[in-house]
Amino acid sequence: MVAFIVRRVIAAVLMLAVVSAATFAIFFLIPRALGQTPEGMASRYVGRDATPEAIQGAVKRLHLDDPLIVQYGRFAKGIVAGEDYSLGPRKAECPAPCFGYSFNNNQPVWPTLLDRLPATMSLAAGAAILWLIAGVSIGIVSALRRGTALDRAAMTVALAGVSLPIYFTGLVSLSVFAYTLGIFPGGGTYTSISENPIAWFQALVLPWITLAFLYAALYARLTRAGMLETMGEDYIRTARAKGLKESTVVTKHALRATLTPILTIFGLDVGLLLGGAVLTESTFSIPGVGKLVIDAIRGNDLPVVLGVTMFAAFFIVLANLIVDILYAVVDPRVRLS
């Protein structure tokens, strides 16, 4: 088991290294290949009235004239060991993990990310609880009542749910519940939970429901399909042949097998969302990681874009890791392999 975990952790770290290199390549190598010069990149960050000296100064300050491999080395070193940055009259220490300083507001990226994380986490956690409960229970009931009107209705709604773009659902819900009926506050009213838990809750109700609706629809479909497949398994027949009550067959035998892969996907989905729910956060103006990165992309703020991408990849890889390990715990067959 220990060896298994160690192996998985090493694989995860390698994966992050690959992702970081690829990310770096996409944001630095591709522009370079398309003819971008260090001066060209620097000119974005020196204001409207940049003198050639100022541009050269920015090139030097941001080390844009170094070979890309050196730049990547510095980027990687910053993440692992930290890096010093010039803020003018003095050097600023940027401790590991250091993703550098925003080109646009000169703030270190890592604390900014951490600062944005609670909003994203609030959104993801609330929605995850909702969709897991709703999606899975609807899926189970649908599978057990297969072919009934209930099943058909639930699956129609679920199909509609996965067919609706989330920003559209979001806008419609804002339009109806916030601006027409005034039941919930509108977009951009997110408040941190420590500041005002009630406002936090109110502001997140619509985003939660919007995000959870999409995922619940998906999970209902997944759970139903998984449940149907499991209910057709030989070991379910065996359980019935033993004389087990149907309820026991469902809860003890079928659910465990059905939910294990669902939980796997759940872990990955939550991991994905923690890296920023770009569309939901944009639609509802929630100051989370996703909103941060969209703003950063629009503002050409490469360090922030890189940081968020790495951050998001980290969560995906971490989720994969946790899921792998959990799977090994839940499914005895995995341990040997």
Partner: protein, 351 residues
Amino acid sequence: MTTAPGSSAPDSFLELRDLRIHFPTEDGVVKSVDGLSFKLDRGKTLGIVGESGSGKSVTSLGILGLHKGGRAKISGEIWLDGEELVGASVDHVRTLRGKKMAMIFQDPLSSMHPYYTVGAQIIEAYRIHHKVSKQVARKHAIDMLGRVGIPQPDKRVDSYPHEFSGGMRQRAMIAMALSCDPELLIADEPTTALDVTVQAQILDLMLDLQREFNSALIVITHDLGVVAELSDDILVMYGGRCVEYGSAEDIFYRPEHPYTWGLLGSMPRLDREPTERLMPIKGSPPSLINVPTGCAFNPRCAYEGRTGGKATTEVPQLAETEGGHLVRCHMPPAERRAIWENEIKPMLEST
């Protein structure tokens, strides 16, 4: 007995009367079992033989009541130890399952829950029907594992199914089925997934255990070799119906149905030259939705021409030919026997 369905309790331990199990699907009604009747006494073994899709597994699950409450339409009667089960409540049949009647499934790997230890699954089976503590049940499980010949049962009880070899898994499966001393044991292709030497061990084990528990045993298989070793009586199924029924000797030495001949012909035998051609049955099993008109076997039957056209128009009756030996064929008994004696048997014995 084939034509006289009664409603009173029979003498035999198990009796099926005109059992029909139909599945309505969008493609049509699948008549998996279509009028099946037989009897079985305690201590006796019945072999049910047929190709896949002939309805034999559906029959066994039907007896256990596992089609109840689903989409299946079930009619006819199943009498077990004086009780009628088709009309009995789902819940009542459930209490009989595992205790009064148990089943050994074909593929023990997929038939055992991968997430629970073998011990846990036997314990669960035992505790459904016996109000005992987990410790007692565990002792019983170890005991059962030992009895089916699993070495170091006190250790293996905590192993998962995937940690067992195929043969050991089948033994564990049998241990689970026998944990509540069932009076009726149904084994569905118990040895298909095993290699030949292990097959023999498992078959021996089942015979021993049957004797020990004096239970009635139904062995379902497509392999005549298996039933040859185990069975007192043999029932050949085709297209959801019984086409021939008789004692093991009847079936092996005096078979009268062309389909049975085909089965015998396609049975590999160790005493035969490997170079020799088997006698395969041409074609494939019939659709259970659109069963061929007349005799279901007619499209594949080499003797279809000898029925005077009845094969394609009229469903043959299952009729007694002599001493409890039943055959469903349009050809007159004498002609059937003659074909067997003169054409088929010499071919099979042409060593």
